[in-house]
């Protein structure tokens, strides 16, 4: 977990926020370099939205300090609280929050009018930003006549038009249907890349986080579980929680027998009195002899019909669901049901006996 603080543009230190007696955010700290795209990821109630709202200034905080550049946004200890309108932040909300009594162009022009910018410049900048989000043709439509996806584009345009120092996203895609969501996440990322504004993105959807982010912070119960790039988070989760939350994983309790080289070792599984050992990667902080959890992604478990030198386990296919591009299988091994993804052309069927192979490169021992 790296909380590199020096040289960060946005710096959150020891943020604490209570709701009544509940600690919604429990002393988290992180920094972001200028221009980066950071995602706060976690289930509902993990504190990600509260963190975002604290940065936005839409509520006060109970402890800690938030700073952007040289400006302290809030610091209760020093009695500092900058109201949201003075923070110079653009924000995109889940409900789009497009003002229905204004046209698209009026919505987008609003932040510039508030900043008392001259009319000709407003017109230019609104036209530019509408072009960027692809809404030029809709400029004079009332916001209520737009589709969900278009409203979200308008909302994004409004958030970036004043070139704010920070861009905040509060689950902006969760009201869209699946197809549109997949389209919009690529689009959002492209626009953010183009304008280069430092962005914080809040979501509970792990695939969204993987697709869009430069970096991801996985949160749970008001604390940070792991921080890293998408590939790192997916392929090297540090603990059972992250492994389970991001993607799908086979998780089994066991023991690390020995550590060979740094970061590599031998893992022992026990089921029904049978003991199986397999080489694995170790996540940081795991030593020989400790209890740990084995984490293997279904796509990294290979089911074959013939036993050979590399196969470790023997099991029975309990069901195989055809999903078009792949087959979702379950393989029973003792009490444990392995989730396995197979190619459709293997034509695995329920009731078959299969052997499982593991790739040491993608077999992890993580902290419970």
């Amino acid at each position: 977990m790296s909380n590199e603080t020096t040289g960060a543009y946005l710096q959150v230190d020891n943020l604490v926020k209570y709701f009544g007696n509940d600690k919604a955010v429990d002393g988290i700290s992180f920094g972001i370099p200028e221009g980066a795209f950071l995602t706060l990821l976690g289930p509902s109630g993990c504190g990600k939205t509260t963190t975002l709202m604290s940065i936005a200034g839409l509520h006060t905080i109970d402890g800690g300090r938030i700073k952007v550049g040289d400006t302290v946004f809030t610091s209760p200890k020093e009695g500092l609280f900058l109201p949201p309108e003075k923070r110079d932040i653009g924000m995109v909300f889940q409900s789009y929050a497009i003002w229905p009594h204004m046209t698209v162009a009026e919505n987008v022009a609003y932040p510039l009018e508030i900043r008392k910018i001259e009319q000709p410049e407003i017109d230019d900048r609104v036209a530019d930003v509408l072009k960027l989000v692809g809404l030029t043709a809709e400029a004079d439509k009332l916001a209520t006549n737009l589709s969900g996806g278009q409203q979200q584009r308008a909302s994004l345009a409004r958030a970036i038009v004043s070139k704010p120092r920070l861009l905040l996203f509060d689950e902006p895609l969760s009201n869209l249907d699946l197809k549109l969501r997949e389209q919009m996440r690529v689009e959002l990322k492209r626009i953010q890349n183009e304008v280069g504004i430092t962005s914080i993105y809040v979501t509970h959807d792990q695939s969204e986080a993987l697709v869009m982010s430069d970096e991801i912070i996985v949160m749970s119960k008001g604390k940070i579980e792991q921080r890293g790039g998408p590939v790192e988070i997916y392929s090297r989760p540090v603990n059972e929680y992250v492994s389970n939350f991001i993607g799908v994983a086979n998780l089994l309790k066991g023991k690390v027998l020995e550590v060979n080289e740094p970061g590599q070792g031998l893992f022992e599984l026990a089921q029904d009195g049978k003991q199986v050992q397999m080489p694995c990667q170790l996540s940081p902080g795991i030593a020989a002899g400790e209890d740990a959890v084995l984490s293997v992604r279904p796509e990294n478990v290979h089911a074959v019909r013939e036993k050979d030198g590399d196969t470790t386990l023997e099991g029975e296919v309990t069901f195989a669901i055809f999903l078009g591009s792949h087959v979702d299988c379950r393989v029973q091994w003792g009490d444990f049901e392995w989730k396995v993804i197979a190619h459709p052309r293997t034509r695995l069927k329920a009731g078959e006996k299969v052997y499982l192979k593991f790739d040491p490169e993608h077999t992890l021992a993580v902290q419970p």
Partner: protein, 583 residues
């Protein structure tokens, strides 16, 4: 944005900063309003309560503390009977209004009755008109000797008896019943229309027939709406003054409201006994409204699924013409007949029960409307001007108040908010005449007594919740993120209110304003307690004419009020919708 605006106020001490943070525009305004509302609502009711324990000595000079007034209520010759009559009238009109309201709503929402899209606005008209004027019109239709309907029947069938006699408590039930039917209609029609059709479809596919589905699924689902409507009708009928005053009190059927009125202004005025009776009436109505708000309204089922559904429509076959006739009949007795009758009566110098074409005259309109003429009747001409002032001014002030209160309730946090939420329900529980008694005993010794201000104060206190509900329903529907995104765009709290929140609430503000305008224009039961010479309102003018002048003059002023109301109703239809009413 300049960098200066971005730097926080570093130089001040933390404590100073915290104090400053509390004294925001937002907090100051909301605090002031909370105090004003509490003063307006709580003070009169508290004074009324205290006054009810002051007993006037037999000579009328001095008062002592005690329960004497409450004892007298039970030992008096008339008051216990008035209690009973109020109970009978309220129960009767509740049953009638519920039957009419539910059946009409069902016909309009769920059957293929012809022309149902055009009928609805007319079904709702009685809701806006004055029931007092309805009583006057029905008196002229159903009085045994001079009633127009009775005379028509006598002429056509050559009989010598009267078809109906409206001047008794059954007449009161009839008029309040048909005038309050739209209340029940409004509570029921929405849930009938918005009900998820698969709730009924699933009963059908499970094996239940149409009738069983209606009895076990449809009706239970709209039952909370029916009960809410019924309770509101019961409470409104109990507080209704004009109809029993016109149709039953003169013939020996007093009610609580007519008795309170006689204790407030009559020859045997006794404000303290009036206060005690008001307390008794108020406690009953508050209790019922509390039950409705607390236990019935939250059970409303269809709001859970409240999406835009296309409801199942029942094919009535030839019976649809019966339904159509039934609906036309309602509009006839509630709207058309009363208005036609008033027009006819108002065009005669004296009313004998028959149309005399040779006598047709406009003199009654001249005397009641042309204030510059020497033969104008001051009580009537004053009424128009005063009512317009009260309606314009009162509706405007009340809506500003309603806006601020709604904003506080839905957009700010703190202990004052819960109190406000409560305070904005309380006035709904008290009939106008009860609140007016409270205002009377509170302010009778102050300079605002005998001015229009006291009327306006009472109007606003009693009716601002209606405006507030209109705004709140919209405020609940618009996401708080709309406000927040304006703050994020760099706008201050006040700019956000002015440029985002208020424009978004415009439909609700407007609907609420016209609704209050209509209510104030026809208001009687508050005005009748608080008016003095010179501050008569339209309805007080009508009261004066029917009490001290003749029926044709009364009918003329009634028509003037009705025309004003119809114009306002038209404006309401244009700018607001049915939704604005059920809020």
């Amino acid at each position: 944005m300049t960098t200066e605006a971005l730097s926080p106020t570093r130089e001040r001490s933390p404590l100073n900063n915290r104090l400053r943070a509390m004294l925001t525009q937002e907090n100051i305004i909301t605090l002031v309003v909370a105090i004003i509302v509490a003063g307006a609502v709580v003070v009169p009711l508290a004074v009324l309560f205290v006054s009810s324990f002051k007993v006037l000595d037999p000579l009328g000079w001095d008062t002592t503390w005690g329960f004497g007034n409450y004892v007298e209520m039970f030992t008096d010759r008339i008051i216990p009977k008035a209690f009973l009559n109020t109970l009978i009238i309220s129960s009767g009109s509740t049953i009638l209004a519920t039957f009419l309201g539910v059946s009409l709503a069902w016909i309009n929402a769920r059957t293929n009755c012809p022309g149902r899209d055009y009928l609805e606005p007319y079904n709702l008209i009685p809701f806006f008109l004055s029931p007092f004027i309805g009583a006057i019109a029905w008196h002229n239709l159903g009085e045994p000797q001079t009633g127009l309907l009775n005379n028509w029947v006598r002429d056509i069938f050559g009989v010598d008896w009267a078809l109906i006699n409206i001047d008794n408590i059954y007449g009161v039930i009839w008029v309040t019943g048909i005038f309050f039917a739209p209340l029940v209609y409004l509570f029921v029609v929405g849930s009938l229309r918005r009900m998820d059709p698969s709730l009924e479809d699933s009963a059908r596919t499970t094996g239940a027939g149409l009738i069983r589905t209606t009895m076990t699924i449809t009706l239970p689902l709209v039952m909370p709406g029916i009960l809410s409507g019924a309770i509101i009708v019961f409470v409104t009928s109990a507080g209704e003054f004009g109809v029993p005053f016109k149709l039953s009190a003169p013939y020996g059927w007093e009610t609580l409201t007519t008795q309170i009125f006689s204790k407030a202004v009559g020859d045997d005025a006794n404000h303290f006994l009036g206060a005690a009776m008001s307390m008794a009436l108020g406690i009953i109505t508050v209790l019922l409204i509390w039950i409705q708000q607390r236990y019935i309204a939250p059970r409303s089922f269809t709001t859970v699924t409240g999406k835009g559904f296309r409801p199942n429509v029942l094919d009535l076959g030839p019976w649809r013409w019966v339904a159509f006739g039934y609906n036309l009949m309602f509009i006839a007795v509630a709207v058309v007949l009363p208005i036609v009758c008033l027009i006819i009566v108002s065009l005669h110098p004296v009313w004998t029960g028959k149309i005399v074409w040779a006598d047709i005259t406009t003199i009654n309109y001249v005397k009641t409307l042309f204030w510059w003429r020497p033969d104008a009747i001051a009580a009537a001409t004053n009424g128009i001007v005063n009512s317009l002032i009260l309606a314009f001014g009162g509706a405007s002030i009340a809506m500003v108040m309603a806006l601020v209160i709604s904003y506080m309730i839905h957009r700010t946090k703190g202990f004052g908010v819960r109190m406000l939420d409560f305070l904005s329900v309380v006035p709904i529980g008290f009939p106008g005449i009860v609140l007016a008694m409270g205002v009377l005993v509170t302010y009778i010794q102050t300079p605002i007594y005998a001015t229009l201000w006291i009327l306006m104060l009472a109007y606003i206190t009693r009716f601002f919740p209606y405006g507030q509900r209109n705004i709140s329903s919209i405020m609940l529907a618009i996401s708080e993120e709309l406000d927040q995104s304006s703050r994020m765009a760099g706008a201050s709290w006040f700019t956000t209110l002015w440029r985002i929140t208020i424009p978004l609430l415009k439909p609700g503000l407007f609907a609420g304003w016209i609704l209050l305008f209509i209510i104030f224009l026809r208001e009687l039961s508050i005005s009748i307690i608080l008016f003095t010479t010179g501050t008569e309102t339209l309805s007080v003018g009508v009261y004066y004419l029917t009490n001290f002048e003749n029926e044709p003059l009364t009918a003329a002023l009634s028509m003037a009020q009705t025309v004003l109301l119809l114009i306002a109703i038209y404006a309401f239809r244009r700018f607001a919708g049915r939704e604005a009413l059920t809020a």
